[in-house]
């Protein structure tokens, strides 16, 4: 066994093993649990960093075995997987730190962190999957491991949200399975491959391939929260803040978006998908989702719900980027996978801080919170400006690249979508910022907790500050090697035969 085989296996195993150990730990083993969590997260970052370094220099990492007659289980690290794996490894560490602080003294921590690690293991598997079959394996594992996190509180509301979540995702999973099985029956086991498989495909296959594409997008669209398959997401807000952060920034919605990228790029191939006329419909759905999500966000009074509708809108940028099928547009979509993750996790961390420290859940209760919690509020402000697309933050890079990409291929209407969406983003974020910084505190905080001189627990404060710095750096240093944008460029150059 050479190292190139073992690396992806190790990367998957770190969180899988951590999860098994965490389940077995007694509820009281607080220190040990925190140590295991952090060590596993750091080890994973190191493994992913090594693979990123190797892949930049042209190495390949792959492990495979035959699982069923004619079906292989493939773990493979390529440039595209590293985009997602890097994001999830980095944000896992920060979310773990945050979760340790957030769940202090609450029951069921063994269970929580066990499933939390399992969820990250699934995400890693999704990133490293080398064919659709393996992808599906981890995609369903993600569904199962997030359910206990969503219903973690055990309240009636949480259970209802959990039931809704599971109905949406399992039905989506069944549709996806049908599509994958059909595709397999039609053309056999297809590995993800640069440029896809269906360039110049037999015209007789075109009809079934089109139906399969629609089925695939439907199955993946549930997790990516494409309208009208998004209904589970706003409800899943009842989950604890670190879970919402994870669901929205890294795990669930990104798994769907990443799957769409894989299918379009490496199963169908961008050119073939365009030639079959599959992308136009997808672009319309994505554009509609962007506007719809932003519009609904305007009307939410609950902070987390507003962020949830914002997620629905933002994730579709990734999908829309793909549909631009020009190098710049694709780059914009890919880089948003990372940018949206960093920005959204910052916002959710901050929302969690307001809820935990001040007991604030509604936007109209936030008046004057900037004075009470300056660190959190600065991070929130940066995240919000990033989402709006203010230069030089990460979100600006995305929108700029995508806009340029759209003009390059003559899809001017996409620019209009971007502009409208940015205006809507401003319309629902700026009032919050105004309340934070410029409004006077009207009433006592609903449930205030004090941490001496600090505005909140350091476990809760540091993660959003770090991600806020990251989202500034991702914007300013966009052209430095190994920045998200440079990596997206590398993917486009290397993988997408344009």
């Amino acid at each position: 066994m050479s190292l190139s085989v073992l690396m992806p296996v190790f990367a998957l195993m770190t969180s899988l093993l951590a999860s098994v150990v965490l389940f077995a730990l007694p509820e009281k083993g607080y220190r040990l649990r925190t140590t295991i969590n952090l060590v596993a997260a750091v080890v994973k970052i190191a493994l992913v960093a090594v693979m990123i370094w190797g892949i930049a220099r042209g190495r390949e990492y792959e492990a495979a075995f035959t699982m069923l007659p004619g079906v292989e289980f493939v773990l493979r690290a390529d440039a595209l997987s590293m985009l997602f794996a890097g994001l999830s490894a980095l944000l896992w560490l920060l979310t773990t730190i945050y979760a340790v602080g957030y769940l202090e003294d609450s029951p069921n921590r063994s269970r929580f962190f066990g499933f939390f690690s399992l969820c990250v293991a699934s995400t890693m598997g999704i990133a490293l999957a080398g064919n659709l079959f393996t992808f599906f394996l981890f995609y369903e594992m993600l569904t199962l491991s997030t359910y206990p996190l969503v219903v973690h509180r055990g309240t009636r509301k949480a259970l209802r949200a959990g039931r809704n979540y599971i109905i949406y995702t399992l039905t989506g999973g069944a549709v996806l399975l049908l599509a994958i099985a059909w595709l397999h029956g039609l053309v056999g086991d297809l590995r993800f491959q640069e440029g896809g498989h269906f360039a110049g495909v037999d015209p007789s296959l075109q009809a079934p391939l089109t139906i399969i594409f629609v089925l695939l997008m439907t199955g993946l669209g549930v997790k990516a929260a494409l309208v009208p398959l998004h209904g589970w997401l706003p409800q899943a807000m009842v989950a604890p803040a670190p879970v919402s952060a994870l669901l929205h920034a890294v795990a669930v919605v990104k798994a769907g978006a990443f799957g769409i990228i894989r299918v379009v790029f490496e199963v169908y191939g961008l050119e073939a998908a365009e030639a079959m006329g599959l992308l136009a419909g997808l672009a319309l759905v994505a554009a509609f989702t962007i506007i719809y999500g932003s519009t609904r966000a305007l009307y939410q009074i609950d902070l987390k719900r507003r962020l949830a509708f914002s997620t629905i809108s933002q994730v579709s940028y990734i999908v829309l980027g793909l549909c631009l099928f020009g190098p710049l547009g694709v780059m914009g979509g890919l880089v948003h996978l990372v940018h949206q993750g960093i920005m959204k996790i910052t916002l959710f961390f901050c929302a969690g801080n307001y809820a935990e420290t001040l007991g604030v859940h509604r936007i109209d209760e936030l008046d004057g919170a900037g004075k009470r919690m300056p660190g959190t509020s600065v991070a929130f402000t940066l995240g919000a400006f990033g989402m709006i697309g203010a230069p030089p933050l990460a979100g600006f890079i995305t929108k700029w690249t995508m806009g340029a990409g759209a003009l390059e291929v003559g899809m001017d209407w996409v620019v209009a979508v971007l502009v409208v969406s940015s205006l809507l983003n401003a319309a629902y974020f700026l009032p919050i910022l105004h309340r934070l910084w410029f409004a006077e505190q009207q009433q006592a905080w609903p449930h205030e907790r004090r941490w001496g001189r600090l505005e909140t627990s350091p476990w809760l404060l540091w993660p959003p500050l770090v991600t806020a710095v990251l989202l500034v750096l991702a914007g300013i240093l966009a052209n430095v090697p190994f920045s998200p944008l440079s990596w997206a460029e590398l993917i486009v150059l290397r993988e997408v035969a344009l």
Binding site: F73, P107, Y147, L159, W182
Partner: protein, 488 residues
């Protein structure tokens, strides 16, 4: 070497049945542990022997058929022998802790347990129709006795009902066997097949085959003949329920499948195959729906068996009139479904028994708080549920994948709906149990914590069922070993 293994395999259960009949519960328990060890080792040995050298015919006592008893020891049979050993060992171990030695009638658990095991091995290895009948009867009678062991009036009622169904099924089967004998003059399945394929005997009527399949389907609780199963499996002691759902119903299905694969091509027909498939599909839908509606935990699990058995009958349409490749795919899928359901359902019944013991009630809504205070017991139940839902990477998923492929390749797309809807419906009843256990309405641990050994056993079974999907290819390759047909 294989001679000794065969002798050990066939005679230990019978010898142990007699031995344990003579002693009390505790003594029987000790004796049984030794017997289980022997059986597991012998089964493993036989499986390894066949995996390395291929299958063979074994003539009991060296007598040639038709006088002697001829056993067919092939890859599929030894896989099921090994499966039986694993599941029975787990259930026997569980029962030895779970059953209360204070109740005098519990001592009969051991002899019945061993008779059941003997019958199962006869069925897996049986080469002629009459031996299969003997094995089947042995199983049925032992199983009815085990159900009655529950003790209450309701258990006896369920047992009587089960007995009636089993006897009717046996009768139909026996009648079919007699008609076959009248027509072909032999009881050996291999000889009948040979006579049919070289055209010595004209194909004749479908009726005997239909009669036998009817009897076997009744014993397997195929919809709409499933009425006897949920009361019997629900009321029996948990280790007994596990044995019944995991192994006993599979024995009659196994015979039906072998009859169909050997004779179905000549005596069966498209309509018959589709009819059986439709009944299977209805069983999946109706059984899952009823499982969802149950208020008692073990009834949920029992109705889930009705649903899961339904999948098995998709074998009939998916192997009739299709190419060999598709037929093989379907057979592999069904075999994986048999194995993974056996492991998962045994795990689930044992875990359900533990949960009921812990909360002191058999109702689903009594499970509130279990997830917080008894995560371990719930975990096995949950894992087994994942396999029943057919989600990856479990054996249930591997089975579903192969069946999907077989349905697509044979153009029988209507089974896709059954497979996908069945998965979602089973998710509905499994998640209903999860949901009940996640309700967090108490801060005190008022639950009884069962002994660790009781909790470990279902976990092992559930993990095996989970891992089956990952090692499906090597397992299937042993089953697909060429059968040389030489005698040893």
């Amino acid at each position: 070497m294989t001679l000794w293994l065969m002798a050990g395999l066939l005679f230990t259960p019978l010898a142990w049945a007699v031995l344990t009949l003579l002693v009390d519960f505790r003594m029987g328990r000790a004796v049984t542990w030794l017997g289980i060890l022997v059986q597991v080792l012998v089964s493993l040995g036989l499986w390894a022997a066949v995996a390395s050298d291929g299958g063979f015919y074994y003539l009991l006592g060296g007598w040639q058929a038709p006088l002697g008893i001829e056993l067919r020891v092939d890859g599929l049979a030894v896989t099921f022998v090994l499966l039986t050993a694993l599941v029975a060992a787990a259930c026997g171990w569980h029962a030895s802790v779970y059953l209360d030695p204070g109740k005098s009638w519990h001592r009969y658990f051991w002899p019945l347990f061993w008779f059941l095991w003997a019958g199962l091995n006869v069925v897996w290895l049986g080469g002629d129709l009459f031996n299969l009948y003997v094995g089947l009867e042995l199983i049925s009678l032992a199983a009815v006795g085990l159900v009655a062991l529950g003790g209450q009036a309701a258990a006896l009622r369920a047992a009587i009902r089960y007995l009636m169904a089993a006897l009717l099924g046996s009768l139909a089967y026996l009648l079919g066997v007699a008609l076959i004998y009248g027509q072909f003059g032999t009881l050996s399945l291999a000889d009948v097949t040979a006579l049919l394929s070289d055209g010595t005997v004209a194909a004749g009527q479908t009726f005997p085959l239909v009669l036998m399949l009817f009897g076997l389907a009744l014993k397997t609780a195929l919809f709409p003949m499933h009425g006897w199963l949920p009361p019997a499996h629900g009321i029996a002691k948990s280790p007994v329920s596990a044995l019944l759902s995991a192994l006993v119903v599979k024995a009659s299905f196994y015979i039906a499948a072998r009859l169909w694969l050997d004779l179905g091509g000549h005596l069966g027909g498209y309509e018959l195959a589709q009819l059986i498939g439709v009944l299977g599909g209805l069983a999946v839908i109706w059984g899952s729906w009823l499982a969802f509606r149950q208020t008692k935990l073990k009834q949920v699990v029992a109705y889930s068996s009705v649903a899961q058995i339904g999948y098995l009958f998709l074998l009939f349409p998916l192997t009739w009139g299709v190419t060999d490749a598709i037929s093989l795919q379907a057979q592999q899928g069904i075999t994986l479904q048999v194995i993974s359901h056996a492991l998962a359902k045994a795990a689930m019944f044992l875990a359900a028994g533990n949960l009921i013991m812990s909360v002191g009630s058999n109702r689903v809504d009594a499970l509130a708080g279990v997830s917080r205070f008894l995560p371990f017991s719930l975990f096995s139940f949950g894992l087994a549920g994942v396999s029943l839902m057919g989600l990856p990477p479990t054996g249930g998923f591997a089975a579903k994948w192969l069946l999907l492929q077989a349905s697509l390749a044979s153009g029988q797309w209507w089974w896709l709906g059954v497979l996908l809807a069945g998965g979602l419906l089973s998710a509905a009843y499994v998640f209903r149990v999860y949901q009940a256990s996640f309700i967090d309405n108490t801060d005190t641990d008022h639950f009884f914590h069962p002994p660790k050994s009781l909790e470990v056993i279902p976990l092992i079974l559930a993990l095996l069922s989970l891992g089956l999907g990952l090692v499906a290819e090597p397992v299937l390759s042993v089953m697909a070993l060429p059968f040389e047909g030489s005698s040893r």
